[in-house]
């Protein structure tokens, strides 16, 4: 390897290692937190931290944009020293960054943990969305299920078209685990939608994604409002929000519908749930748009 090739390799590695993944994770966590707080404070004049979280999200967006600029600058430099063939931007590996398996913290004390305050609230809403009643108490609160695990379970349930199983999986987790589906799904949904369409989703793709997902989402979540799916598809397609003045959506609705939509898009692509694993090979995007099946 020549010295210039070695320099190129170092720069490509540094560019690929820029922390775009953690910044994406942070952005989605902050958006999810904001969504919950907006719902909590609907009728309160106290801001409860929402404006500050909005500022934090803007800063994180600026950081993400600056990292992309740095990658572009490195690519420009590589091209300028004659390594143009190597100057392409690194592949997008961030869409599954939120699905990394995390080490479970050791329990702080022995014995049964205190009952979760939001548990009944979460299960009530899941029952309304899925029309599946909560399971027996002893089946609830599956310990050790993190949000990435839940998303895989939900996607499996969607794939098999088993609403009862979907309901059981959603009922069995803690509310915070379920609500965090809102945080882990946005980059996954955008990537899967792009793979289904054969290009990056844009405003012109709303109708096509709707027709690909609407029927199956409604059959699995008969209690969800069509507006929730519309909002999710609009976000995937980067369509400016038009919901000003509308009351905030129940946070569980967004989280559950986003999880189910992930499963529907995976099924449309004919992909297994294991393709969501961060360690799985990156699926190859088809050049031509796929017709919804």
């Amino acid at each position: 390897m020549s010295q210039i090739q070695e320099l190129g390799a170092q720069l490509r590695a540094a560019s690929a290692d820029l922390p775009t993944g953690p910044v994406t994770v942070a952005l989605e966590r902050l958006r999810s937190a904001t969504e919950i707080l907006i719902w909590v404070r609907e009728t309160s004049v106290d801001p409860i931290g929402v404006p500050q979280l909005g500022n934090a999200t803007e800063h994180a967006e600026r950081a993400a944009a600056a990292l992309r600029l740095a990658q572009d600058a490195i690519a420009t430099y590589l091209a300028s020293i004659g390594l143009s063939g190597d100057a392409a931007a690194p592949p997008d590996r961030d869409w599954r960054a939120g699905l990394e398996r995390r080490e479970q913290p050791p329990p702080e004390s022995a014995g049964q943990p205190p009952p979760e305050q939001l548990g009944p609230w979460w299960r009530r809403r899941v029952a309304e969305l899925t029309e599946e009643p909560p399971p027996d108490a002893e089946d609830a609160d599956r310990a050790g299920t993190d949000t990435a695990d839940l998303l895989r379970r939900v996607a499996s349930g969607v794939r098999s078209g088993d609403r009862a199983r979907l309901g059981r999986d959603l009922h069995s987790v803690q509310a915070s685990t379920g609500l965090a589906l809102s945080a882990v799904t946005p980059p996954v949904l955008r990537r899967l939608a792009g793979d289904l369409l054969g290009h990056e989703p844009g405003p012109d793709d709303v109708a096509r994604l709707r027709s690909a997902a609407e029927g199956r989402v409604r059959s699995l979540l008969p209690g969800t409002s069509p507006a929730v799916l519309e909002t999710l598809i609009a976000r995937i397609c980067r369509v400016p929000a038009t919901d000003a003045g509308r009351p905030p959506t129940h946070p569980a609705d967004n989280a559950v519908t986003a999880g189910v939509l992930t499963g529907v898009l995976l099924a449309r692509l004919g992909r297994d749930v294991s393709t969501l694993d961060p360690d799985a090979p990156d699926p190859v995007r088809r050049a031509e748009a796929a017709e919804p099946r």
Binding site: V23, V25, A33, I36, I48, Q52, N55, Y77
Partner: protein, 86 residues
Amino acid sequence: MASVAEVKAAVDAALQQVTEGQAAIQAAREKLGEAQQSLAAALDGSASDAVGAAHASLSAADQALEECLGATLLAVEQAQTYTAML
């Protein structure tokens, strides 16, 4: 109808997301510092405009992440003050 306990739990659920976001920001800043060092070592002596732009963008990213972290701390403080009054 929501109880005070449920409102507090909902705010806690949001703050858990913020905490995870803060951890991701800290991890990003650490990786960014390593990348800055590695690029500085590899590109030492370069007068290229593109190199200057890369360094400037990385500094801007770090600054934005620092401000992001500061804003989350304020948000957490305000939310905790609110729940303490309930």
